[in-house]
Symmetry: D2
Subunit: 245 residues, 4 copies
């Protein structure tokens, strides 16, 4: 039996208390819903806990991150409230091997922009449009078992230009009722860590209850989990080898 | 003044004689229409000639290829009629530095499949749907001056999965009335040569008369043109350097 | 317990019978040595068989390939003796999901060139030089447990330019006594299948007895094994969706 | 006549005043030497000015950056003295289309790490070793006219692991007397801007007087220059199209 993957599901935890519609869709909060889905779908293969913005150190102490193999991140209304110290810490954790699953509006979180280096800007329209999520890399583990297309009856639209570096692996491309397209499943490697961005998941729609979306998240956790112990490289002076002339 | 780019526009030259609708859209043939567009848009920067399937050696002798910086390829009904010897020749020319602009159903030409190594299969439906061509790499020279989106009122639909290696640079993604998406502008490097695949251009629609499409083709010719003299690498025995121990 | 990975180790099987030096290093042939290493290192996780050039259909019938998850390929003196029909078959198998581990001079095999589309030429010198294999992607599963550098006291030199498409993932870079460098561990995706090229392994040196090299091969088998059932895409007509306007 | 490329050569400007050896190699400072080389090699095709750390706003005001197409950066001893405000400004300029040529120890500058997202750590040894710079992408414009290998008799060694994202295009790989290797010419795209990292150029050696190194820098300026007017994307609300259902 391999060790379980230790997942921390991080939530901004604001819309669920402030907006009636979100409360009704996610009475247990978005992060608890996501966590419950991972537990149900992955069973003993994972150990899932949750953390949120309003906790001390935004819930992401050195200790929590040291015990996290994969961190999922949902934020929207309060990106600026995450402390720079916590962002530094999460970035270092990714560089040392932790996986990061950036969800929906996390495209605009400090840590995602830090890891990518671009503005991460995009176009959007929240009109409850049909989203079709198409697989463009059918052998990718994150796409395993996902319908082609995955149909979401109502979602927020995100459109290109999505200002990101070209993904190392592009897994999904979405289209919307308005005809817009979006690179909606994007893989990156940063240091020893992996990053996956997955577009669907606006707070106004029951997206994280959708079994196919849950499957994508479960697949992503598997792909993001490091296979080797965590390590951060260092600039260091290299001794001369024996054969040095 | 830099030397003009020598372009050879290759056409299969079948639909224009066989199908009444195509005859009406392209009375001068598709390849002559494409060639005329490049001459009009690029002027003295190019020298454009045409070649076609029914000529000796399919119009692509060693001499023609030696004098070609960029070859554009449109084929659909008779991929199998291109001789394997000509395909070998074109592949070697690309490897040595010639640019190849593969148009629409050229995804299924022998030479494109040779250069990519995959099946190049896809999904399709010819129902005269609206195609929206979105730019996902706005600083790419091939996207210069192209509207976002470029709207084609009626085109054949091509949908994912498009079975290609992940492009070195992805420039355009299309959506269609039916909601399908497609990676419609794809850059590859093979040896010293460059390859650009551009999706629009079904014979049943006046796509190559569209000024924005013409601009994409003109931009692509500029990007595909080699900056260095043609050269093919060789397996060769490397002498020992002076410092060899 | 997951199903064992079904590995077929293919050998050209010529040098081992013709060259005294090779006979002494590999009395059981190179392919049987590679196969024995995989069995010893991976145990129940694999089922390993061997096949070779001189068998009917070069040992690679449709049935053999249908039962192969990962094919390893060593060839050098007789690339031209592999039938084109077998090459077509292996290429299709890769496109449908089979992994291919191309070893050393397999850079010049028909099937490797087919899958990559380039000449795959390089520079070489066989002077028994020290090779240092450096890891440039330390979190890659193929590099797990490999020393940095992996030192081979004597090997054939392969030098850049290696005329390949830029790898999807570059894992190893070698240097040699003469100062040459070489991209010696290169990952590609072609269709649903994966390809890994690994440079060391000239017949004149006991490279496949080296435990670190064996570990690379074992790691590569794990990375190359498909996670999904085999499938080949097809060009097909896509029906109109319900929402089609 | 196209407009000249506006180049700003930025120097840290410390070693040249503090270290006798550097003073003797670069009596006019490193940045003035680099600037003079570009002027000599590129003539009317460029307008070159210099800027340095000790100037107000580190010499990189909004006005200077607005008038810069390509910024070259050499820093080593005082990365921390560049103000975060200036780093933000340079990062935004790159995202909007400015090219950045990061030289040698600029791998560890704030702005390079910001754009790449990784630690950018590496191994090093300053023992005046022979560096061989090999071209692995011979058709790349930055490699035009560069010998294979380019030999530097004495340089600082930089070795893998170089903790960077896999380059979008890898142009050069170096080896050193000690047998180490290094990805020494690396291309990235960030937003509308391009980034090129070039390894050679330690202050203790006369590397920027070498005509081949000067040629690489001149080539890089050409590749980095934006072809389109500067523009920064923005998150914006997209109106519904006419066909929206």
């Amino acid at each position: 039996m391999p060790e379980p993957i230790r997942v921390t599901v991080w939530g901004e935890n604001i819309h669920e208390h402030r907006d009636q519609q979100v409360k009704e869709i996610y009475p247990d909060t978005m992060h608890e819903t996501i966590a419950a889905g991972l537990r149900a779908d992955l069973g003993d293969a994972v150990e899932v806990r949750t953390a949120w913005l309003q906790q001390p150190e935004n819930g992401l102490t050195e200790e929590v991150l040291a015990g996290t193999d994969v961190l999922t991140w949902w934020g929207h209304a309060a990106h600026g409230d995450v402390s720079d110290e916590v962002v530094d810490r999460v970035q270092r954790a990714v560089q040392s091997g932790m996986g990061l699953l950036a969800l929906h509006s996390a495209h605009y979180s400090k840590v995602f922009k830090r890891l990518l280096g671009t503005s991460c800007d995009l176009q959007w329209r929240n009109a409850g449009e049909r989203e079709l999520v198409w697989t463009v890399d059918p052998a990718h583990p994150i796409a395993a078992g996902i319908p082609h297309p995955l149909v979401l009856d109502a979602e927020e639209m995100y459109g290109e230009l999505f200002d990101i570096p070209q993904p190392d692996e592009l897994v999904f491309v979405s289209s919307f009722t308005g005809g817009e397209v979006f690179r909606s499943g994007c893989c990156y490697r940063r240091g020893r860590g992996r990053v996956f961005y997955f577009r669907p998941g606006d707070q106004d729609f029951p997206t994280y209850h959708n079994p196919h979306i849950r499957r994508v998240l479960a697949n992503a956790v598997g792909w993001l989990a490091p296979s080797e112990p965590r390590a951060l490289p260092e600039v260091h002076h290299r001794p001369q080898p024996d054969w040095f002339a």
